[in-house]
């Protein structure tokens, strides 16, 4: 590729070398910064520079190449920062000095315009290429988004006496949060799950699909392995001779330990983990057995606000192989709602940097009466009113299950 100096005609090159001032800089010194005003452009006599915006490197330039003409000739602020990558010798050409030369040598002016247009043409080509690459990446992300949507339940369980509602709002195209709700007929339980994979974006989304699938597959393993037994609420002993409550505890323990140990031993080096709440409800009695693996407190909400908070019973899943998780129990009374949510709710941030906070969520719940769906709509609306136009920082997921009054 011919450099700027090589491409100049002899007269203009001679003139530029005459009016230019030699400047020397050391490695890592800045020539100018984005936003600076400037009256000159530069030609590299010896050494090299990077053109960048913070950590993003836009171009690398070597001997004979020119930069800084946008501010130097056009008078606009510098559009990027230029930093020496090694000892650097520059020829600095002042705008007014160059214009004086051009007044006496009109042929050179024609030549300079031609050269600037060639540079602009090259930049336009690069921008077009980048735009196409960006579009291809966006297309891939859209495919990922559609596939990920399939990892949330498309239909929530319809169980007599219960109402189940979910809410999901990704901060980026793909997300690390998830919720799930499904029946486990072999043990006669309704499973309610919420999870939050650390971090955001594509990495978190890949792990979201892994965690969600392991949890659902293990919890329903009897069904997937064809030993499903029909649930009869009157029967406390299942056909293989065991007590149903023991099977519920076994299901919870297996689900948590298999998911945790599988991810920790297979993917432990990535340090990716998820906080997860897994609850199993016995529909006729409202008994809830659960494991809270490093997740936000779940709430049991009645007419008077939060009656019970369900704090963690063990650490997050996916990095601590062999970690123990206690199984705890609570009662969902008629008319009460189990509310599960991810930290995207209390940590939703307004433009002034203030967080929505658990206090605001608790205050809303104190005042609330209605269906599970309405509850999630009301929380989501309250969060949006609070954050206004601020960019959503984190994924938001909520799952609510209301035990209807008889």
């Amino acid at each position: 590729m011919s450099t700027f100096l090589d491409s100049l005609n002899a007269d203009l090159r001679k003139a530029i070398e005459r009016i230019g001032v030699t400047v020397t800089l050391g490695a890592r010194q800045k020539v100018f910064e984005r936003g600076d005003t400037g009256e000159s452009f530069y030609i590299i006599e010896k050494g090299s520079v990077i053109v960048h915006d913070g950590a993003l490197v836009l171009n690398e330039l070597a001997e004979g190449e020119a930069f800084g003409e946008i501010a130097g000739l056009g008078g606009m602020p510098r559009t990027a920062t230029v930093t020496a990558t090694e000892d650097l010798t520059l020829l600095r050409v002042e705008r007014e000095a160059l214009y004086s030369v051009l007044q006496t040598e009109p042929e050179s002016l024609r030549y300079l315009v031609q050269m600037l247009c060639e540079r602009e043409s090259g930049m336009a080509d690069r921008m077009t290429n980048r735009a196409w690459r960006l579009k291809a990446t966006e297309h891939e992300l859209e495919i990922g988004q559609r596939i990920q949507a399939g990892f949330l339940p498309d239909v929530l369980p319809d169980i007599p006496g219960y109402e189940v509602a979910g809410h999901f709002q990704a901060a980026r195209v793909v997300a690390g949060d998830f919720y799930d709700a499904f029946q486990i007929p072999s043990i006669g339980r309704l499973a309610l799950v919420i999870g939050d994979v650390c971090d955001k974006g594509v990495g978190a989304a890949l792990f979201m699909t892994l965690f969600r699938s392991l949890i659902r597959a293990t919890a329903q393993s009897r069904r997937f392995m064809n030993w499903a037994v029909d649930y009869d609420p009157a029967q406390t002993i299942v056909p293989d001779g065991r007590d149903r409550n023991a099977l519920v505890n076994e299901t919870l323990a297996n689900t948590v330990s298999l998911t945790n140990n599988y991810v920790a031993t297979t993917h432990g080096k990535t340090s990716m983990f998820a906080s997860v709440f897994i609850g199993l409800i016995e529909p006729t009695t409202g008994k809830l057995d659960y494991v809270n693996a490093g997740h936000e407190e779940a709430y049991i909400v009645g007419d008077g606000g939060i009656r019970l908070k369900l704090p963690p019973t063990g650490p997050v899943l996916g990095i601590f192989a062999g970690a123990g998780h206690e199984i705890a129990s609570a009662q969902l009374r008629a008319g009460e709602t189990l509310l599960l949510y991810t930290d995207g709710v209390p940590e939703a941030t307004s433009e002034s940097g203030e967080q929505y906070s658990e206090q605001r969520l608790n205050a809303l719940l104190d005042q609330w009466q209605g269906s599970a769906r309405e509850l999630l709509q009301q929380i989501s609306g309250s969060v949006s009113d609070f954050t206004q136009d601020a960019r959503q920082h984190d994924d938001i997921a909520m799952l609510a299950s209301r035990r209807l009054s008889v």
Partner: protein, 123 residues
């Protein structure tokens, strides 16, 4: 109002074992986790074997920040599968950071100390 960035100061204490102390100031989240991870990688590459993270001035700790802390324990003792972090300790976490340690269950994996002397002599 949370700060949007993370500053890290590094010093060394030469006792029985050479301990490197990283003092964090600001927000440790998805946007700044790489700042901590890169700095830790730099001091570990330069020979640091024992690290103390002073988290007294961390005003926000997100799960992505916790991911970075776990990644550093992996760098310090890659073949140690134990449930305890033996080469990284945490000093005086702010209330906000301490709450996240407790919720996520990291407090049973990483020792938390309230005095620098205790943290240094714990290695």
């Amino acid at each position: 109002m949370m700060s949007e960035d993370l500053q890290i100061g590094v010093s060394r204490e030469e006792g029985g074992k050479a301990v490197t102390i990283m003092r964090l100031r600001g927000s440790l989240d998805a946007n700044t986790q790489s700042v901590l991870e890169d700095k830790a990688r730099e001091v570990i590459d330069a020979g640091a074997e024992y690290l103390i993270l002073d988290m007294s001035a961390v005003d926000y700790l997100g799960s992505a920040g916790m991911r970075a802390i776990h990644a550093i324990t992996n760098l310090l003792s890659p073949e140690d599968p134990s449930m305890r972090s033996t080469h990284l300790k945490v000093l005086s976490p702010s209330a906000a950071a301490a709450k996240v340690f407790k919720t996520l269950g990291f407090d049973s994996f990483i020792d938390i100390h309230e005095s620098l002397d205790d943290a240094i002599s714990s290695f």
